[in-house]
């Protein structure tokens, strides 16, 4: 049998009778605490707290740290200032995606790479293989806990627990490398994976239970609830954020996944996969990730085949009934000729070809101010 890994917060899960855990890439993690719908709504309307300690944190340090991260990732790391983070990707030489990640710049000689749980070992090995003299790697994943506090009230809740002006002054994709919550030192970042305003809190594994309890206590009067991976997935899906293993893989390039904004083909120093991506771009993409909406009754799901004119043109990468919008939506990787908004396609749902249409993404965009929309 396989022994599932546990996050430092696992012992607290038992306090929630409605919790249901699943095996997520070798980790025993809560898919829900009470119900996916309620947790999803809490993030859109109030706030929720996620344990995402399974994510990996790999530190890069040294005089050559910047040059090295630049070579390993598609975005331009030289645009970061101290205390800023960026979304980026690592590619293989063929332009396929090794992983998508966040790069945090603490200083020009100190970066934290936050990678997907299922890819930690693979990424570390990949990074090790291409290591430059003057750069060193440290995999701190086991020792680091990560809590995500997400939702329109996240800032209000957090400002009760730490330096409030600093929290309110934190711009998106910026972070405080040494904030303090309940006496515990943390890295506090204004980032998230829900399409909502929010924060991510990196802490020492041993401090995680104290921080979790403090946030839950401070947030409960405002309607804060704990949330699981189920809601995390539906939230990121509505916001059009890719999930590695579904929208991204070694066989799918960031350009095909619609992430060209994070691929700086002309940046100084180049990066692994650049030549392949330049060729792909020059030749024209053969397929692209799009949004689809069902026009007949049915819900698109991962790996369902998509057809047009009676022939297969791609497949659904993620799909569900959007809890916020109540529409049956999917992300699908389709032949380029069928990716224009309004194109009619068919999804094979358990043997039936049901009508769908290409629609704009993201499906959900957070309102600029005030509370979440209905």
């Amino acid at each position: 049998m396989t022994i599932l890994k546990h996050t430092p917060l696992f012992s607290l899960y038992a306090e929630h009778p409605g919790i249901r855990c699943i095996d997520f890439g070798g980790w025993e993690l809560p898919v829900q605490f009470s119900g996916i719908g309620a947790e999803h709504a809490a993030v859109r309307e109030r706030a929720a707290l996620f344990d995402v300690s399974h994510m990996g944190e790999i530190w890069v340090t040294g005089r050559q740290a910047e040059a090295y991260v630049q070579q390993m990732t598609t975005n331009d790391v030289t645009r970061l200032t101290d205390g800023a983070a960026q979304y980026t990707l690592m590619c293989n030489a063929e332009g396929g995606t090794v992983d998508d990640l966040l790069v945090y710049r603490v200083s020009a000689e100190r970066y934290m790479l936050v990678v997907n749980a299922a890819n930690i070992d693979k990424d570390y090995e990949w990074l090790q293989q291409h290591l430059l003299p003057g750069a060193a790697l440290d995999n701190r994943s086991e020792a680091t806990a990560l809590l995500a506090l997400q939702g329109p009230l996240a800032g209000t809740v957090l400002s009760r627990l730490t330096d409030a002006p600093a929290v309110h002054g934190l711009a998106p994709f910026h972070f405080l490398p040494e904030a303090v919550i309940s006496g515990c030192k943390v890295l506090l970042s204004r980032t998230g994976y829900t399409g909502e305003n929010g924060f991510e809190i990196y802490a020492n594994a041993a401090d995680a239970p104290v921080i979790w309890r403090a946030i839950m206590q401070a947030g409960e009067p405002a309607g804060l609830v704990p949330a699981g991976l189920g809601a995390r997935d539906t939230l990121r899906f509505e916001a059009g954020l890719p999930l590695y293993g579904q929208e991204l893989s070694p066989a799918i390039s960031p350009l095909e996944a619609g992430l060209g904004l994070f691929v700086k083909l002309d940046k100084d120093g180049g990066f692994i996969g650049r030549e392949a991506l330049v060729r792909q771009k020059e030749a024209g993409l053969k397929r692209k990730l799009v949004g689809i909406e069902m026009r007949e009754r049915g819900i698109p799901r991962s790996h369902y085949q998509v057809y047009a004119m009676g022939r297969p043109i791609g497949e659904v990468t993620s799909g569900t009934q959007s809890p916020t919008l109540k529409r049956n939506l999917g992300l699908a990787l389709l032949e380029i000729g069928y990716t224009a908004v309004g194109t009619e396609v068919e999804v094979d749902i358990r043997g039936k070809r049901l009508k769908a249409e290409v629609v704009k993404t993201p499906f959900y965009r957070r309102p600029l101010s005030g509370k979440g929309v209905k």
């Binding site: 996916i36 189920g230 009754r297 049915g298 569900t320 009934q321």
Partner: protein
């Protein structure tokens, strides 16, 4: 702790069956099944008039995360389906044994015999606990 109705019978696939009028058996999914599925958002109902064998897949139930097949616990002909579920699939979560019933199947032989092949409440409790 899930609710198991004493006077109903159950399949190993977590459907319940109960005698209605005459040769009609009403079917649905158990409280245990709905709680495992989580928020149900979509139901594909059985085909009216379809002849089904016990164990046949006759529809599907989808939660936010997963798709689950619905198997007929008895053999017979689908006579009624609960169309309210098309608009309110959450009834299966809220009242799995009442408003969340899914279909009615007319059995050919003895109703008692068709139901005797299934698990009693006590046997089903052993299965899920």
């Amino acid at each position: 702790m899930s609710d198991i109705k004493e006077n109903y019978v159950y399949s190993r696939e977590h459907e319940w069956a109960a005698k209605a009028e005459g040769q009609i058996v009403r079917i649905g999914i158990s409280d245990h099944a709905q709680s495992q599925l989580g928020d149900i958002v979509f139901v594909e109902l059985p085909q009216l008039g379809a002849k089904v064998d016990a164990g046949d897949s006759i529809g599907s139930i989808e939660s936010v995360k997963t798709v689950s097949e619905l198997y007929s616990p008895v053999s017979g002909t689908v006579r009624r389906v609960n169309e309210t579920l098309l608009e309110q699939p959450e009834l299966i979560n809220e009242q799995p044994y009442e408003g969340g019933w899914i279909a009615e199947v007319e059995v050919e032989g003895q109703v008692g015999e068709a139901l005797a092949a299934l698990l009693t409440a006590e046997q089903y409790r052993e299965l899920v606990e």
